[in-house]
Symmetry: D2
Subunit: 390 residues, 4 copies
């Protein structure tokens, strides 16, 4: 049970790029990082508009001289300080992730980055090499994966409770962009513009979330080949898709599907994960994250509730309040940031034992997401053909 | 509102082939046909074991001399009677459907047949030609389609409430055959044996149900091409599949998916239909058939309840009891049989006007189901390739 | 598993009083009685308007001479016939139940009666005495109690799975009469008129349903005292209530509540039964009758599904179709009528063994419902005071 | 939309009494107060064990010399400082609330207190008088009331969308104390001991939560009289109850019920609020706090989702993230603490306009909770009799 005691020896000096005033994503990064006092927000390049960014930083109690006009300026100036930032979180449009992350690593700064980490596997591998060379981590904010019941799902699979895994049904299918909302809402415009969003819209923006959750729950499964069909129902979004279906064959014979959508009219997030084994299935839905459905064939469906003593100790470890009370997405993110902090500290002191026992969306997860999107797009552009995955 | 008054001038003289003692499917046919007194059960070839079939028929108040040892014997003997049967329902294993239906039509008898109607489109077209030539109908028991809220869904689509149709998400995915239950349960054995089941297991056995429902709701959509991946998770079932995913492109640009499964461990039927349009979506689940979710983007989800005055008159016409009370699958079947009866009578008197206004799973629906399975199997056997649909 | 084979030696000759054209309640009586061929509808006094009743009877294939103008005429004429009716169902307004039931019993005819059986305990006891004297049963159509999962709940309690019973939370609270619909809908008018409805509206009309279900599940509990508060939110309904809350103390120390309402705006039936024991609880909802929630403290909630092999054999005995398919209220009623038929036959041949093992809403259930309403009304009229129950 | 910008001019200097290491309630107070940087935790008397409390405070970055051994010591020492604490939160067992709150007010310190504020209305009124005299607020942590959809419910009622209010159905009925868990779990022991818990267990501990929510939603309703029946199903808890049912008549003719329980076996929190009006109902459940069911009679039920544009601006004002994402109890508490902070600042500068427009659980709410429990206990001890409420 977490009760606010710092997990690190001292707070990690931390900065943000992006996430300025009015940014939801900035707020959830800050809420998560500062929640359990593992990080101190000491610097930032919060906004493309330097003046606005500075004003916002000051409101957040960042020293005025550490509110920077750009990430370059920040990394340069900070590196020169005794109390330089040790970590940075990147909450900017997709097209800037690679260069900012690269610059941060080059300056010896740990990175937490929004997904997608970058646009190509080549770039991702470059970041991985840099991360290793500099001894600094890269964390990717697949925030939903921080919900405790994802840990429970992983534990149930590991214990063999599902039998042999057969089906992996993933979806993240909301309806908020059923209409061409980008025409009137500038905040969503960049997401459907390949210059800023990269080679895909929903595959990367939503599909990679349940994909990563599936990797957490099913660490032993490897995709063998996949195919993808994608559509641009709002025509002006082409070539970027607002809906996609991906089919996947795994090397153990399991079969997977991913439905990624922004045009599932009337649906909230609709992120659902269903794992089917030869004996039982698991189902989890991000809109009701405190429940996990465990369905053994020929037995009554069981509804597992967060916080209950029958769960795995690893699941319970991240609870912040007892069962029955609702935890939400902010707690899931805080769980991730707790692990980012532990990973940063363990990396800095070279503590392989701690790192071996720690699971978080790291550079490998970042690479995998990019690879999956890249492969899906390749399949879709080929007319929905099967592509070997590697 | 239905209250038991006959919809036909007089009861139609009706027989069954199959559906003997202990047959669930036989019971639901009889319950549906006799419910509103449009049919009289006057003859039958209920069982391969003639003695057992005769004993069962007598219990059902069928005259002993009209309990036949085989369908041939029945059609021959009945045709010679003044009060010959006018209609027959076929509830036997798949491999016999074609020959029984053909024989019935040749004897000038209306046919109600379990799906799949037959194994090949060629056979289905032969039945269609015979049906036309003889002026007798063929009804196919896609029973779920008789639920009133399917009618409501159709009415909402027809009224344009969903906008342009974009996505058709269909699934019928139960878990009852997660293990090789056929090894100990003879009643399920024939379903996984291609000699009796035909070219597919779950595609035909369960997948065609939501497919037909989608045809009812979306009469204007045409499949342009499809691809299918199928698996035999219980190895001994190969070449028949116990799980399959089909992707479909429609000629209006809509995209569809069908998940057919018998190994969705822990799930009951899991038959869910979701239709997504540019403005709104509809979702219906056969396990809670009295509710229809109507989800307009940017408005609260609405839960439509069977029997309520806000529904379309065509929806309300088939109610047997007021809102709040639960109607189930037996009522859905009875709704179908009511329409079969009306169709038989109208066909016999050549009443084109009545037929034009009547919607039921007819020979066209039967053909379509066979065509879809045939195409899916072709795609799957080709390694999951796209196949033009025609 | 029921598959339509008659449970009686021969069909019981049966008639109806009331339930004419357009009557929902008449249709459900007929559907239930005729479903499994234990009854033959051979006579009726279907309507106060004799001509209309006769026309309707003829449509139902009742012989014209056995379509009577009144119940007196019917009982008199039928008694004179060789093939006289053996049983009658009463589906008329409340104020006529007593006299019709009494007349039927006096003529030696088995009775199935809508609740409330009558208006006073004194009347109910008179019917009980007559029933014994004549050797004819009285069944009361608490139809919901026929759902199989009520049997399962009973079995779970009997097996001690809930521990000691502590709480009995009952409700039947719909919203259909939130407005004064009786002003425009004559079919509901009599229900709020004490001349026809008797001393209560919702207590008798809806509250007695879950009350009887609780008697089935908890046969060992006895009410010790109760109190009731009732309201007439639509003022013109006074003195009859359209909402009531009853609190009950049982002799084992358990505590119960019943919420009866017709003004629970926006709710369908809202009939929910929750039984809480020292170890576990059960919850059942008539709008989703195929599921029963079994909630053991400190374990995950289990959703029991109708038709599954893990249920009690007595539960499974009444299934008409496999798990996953939805059975509804019509099947529940048919289950009751099956038992009425068995009870009639066993009573006629004096088969005490069969009767001892048979549970159905009998004259005792009828008396109990009347006693409960009478006591509730007494408490409410005293200002919501506690009244000893006896 | 909240994004972490401080709502106060500067952080309020804040301390805690209780809430030491391992205390869930301490963590949620701190998470809420510090979330949006309106408070700084600068002092505390965290634990009865002074050394342990001091060690914990130091971990929370409180200066060692401001980690006090007792609340008296803290109030005395802090008052002498230039940078004295301005507010204190009380998270100790019930029996200490009154004396700590009184001492804090006497020292001119704003108070946030766990419910119940104290044991008697007399005490509560004394605190109110002191609060006025000293010009300092008292906030009570009815945390669930901070969920945004409670605000929406209030707005819908205020707009007349429900019509005239008729029924107020409240419950908070968990099952965690179905067994005598206090025998082995010391953390729950004081809750069932009247020396520490006061005159009630569940009425005060859980029942007052939905009661306060009903006061928020229905500010115009006044209880006229009530009755209460309470039980001690675990006998050793007597005279304190582990289950209670309260009936309430309101002065406008509405009727209310409150089910408070700790023995509702198998249930999580089971806090549900249903408000029934002449035209529509509202239902909210704390375990799925992002949804509000709005049920207009004769229309489909609507599921309102947190964050959607169709909600009232006052509802949306407290969102921290977009619709579809789940907010939980921590956000609800943070919403309350935001308002406590605004209220403290406005009170200190005498800003009546801000205070008039601000709704939070204040001293009035605290008094009302105590009054309700006191009256319920009086009724229960009288045998479940009606008591005028004043």
């Amino acid at each position: 049970m977490i009760n606010g005691e710092r997990r690190t020896k001292r707070p990690i000096r931390w900065a943000m790029v992006g996430g300025g005033r009015g940014s939801q994503i900035g707020y959830i990064h800050r809420s998560a990082a500062l929640r359990d006092r593992n990080f101190d927000l000491v610097a930032g390049a919060f906004d493309l508009d330097a003046e606005r960014g500075r004003a916002f930083g000051i409101e957040l109690d960042v020293a005025p001289e550490r509110c920077y006009a750009s990430f370059d300026a920040m990394f340069a100036a900070e590196t020169a300080r005794e109390d330089a930032i040790e970590a940075v979180s990147i909450a900017t449009p997709n097209n800037t992730h690679f260069s900012i992350a690269k610059a941060a690593l080059e300056h010896g700064i740990h990175v937490v980055c929004e997904k997608p980490l970058c646009f190509t596997v080549a770039e991702a591998l470059e970041l991985e090499a840099l991360s290793k060379a500099k001894g600094k981590i890269v964390g990717v904010t697949y925030g939903y994966a921080g919900h405790q019941l994802i840990e429970e799902a992983r534990a149930l699979v590991a214990a063999g409770s599902l039998g042999e895994i057969r089906l992996v049904n993933l979806q993240f299918a909301h309806g908020f962009h059923s209409a061409a909302v980008e025409e009137t809402n500038p905040a969503t415009r960049w997401r459907v513009d390949p210059r800023f969003a990269g080679p895909s819209y929903v595959l990367g923006d939503v599909g990679t979330h349940p994909l990563y959750i599936s990797e957490v729950i099913l660490p032993h499964l490897r995709i063998k080949r996949l195919m993808c069909a994608r559509q641009s129902f709002v025509k002006s979004r082409a070539p970027l898709e607002d809906n996609a279906v991906t089919l996947m064959e795994y090397d153990n014979g399991a079969f997977g599907t991913v439905w990624s959508s922004a045009v599932n009219a009337g649906s909230m997030h609709g992120q659902k994960i269903r794992i089917v084994g030869s004996k039982a299935s698991l189902e989890w839905w991000d809109e009701r994250p405190n429940q996990l459905s465990f369905e053994v064939q020929d037995e009554p469906v069981r509804i597992l509730e967060r916080g209950m003593g029958y769960l795995h100790p690893a699941t319970l470890a991240d609870d912040r309040i007892g069962a029955g009370h609702s935890e939400g997405l902010f707690e899931a993110w805080a769980n991730l940031y707790d692990r980012f902090a532990i990973a940063m500290e363990a990396t800095d002191r070279g503590d392989a034992a701690v790192l071996a026992g720690l699971r978080y969306p790291d550079i490998k997860a970042g690479i995998e997401g990019v690879r999956w999107v890249e492969t899906c797009v390749r399949s879709a552009e080929g007319g929905g053909v099967w592509i070997d995955y590697a």
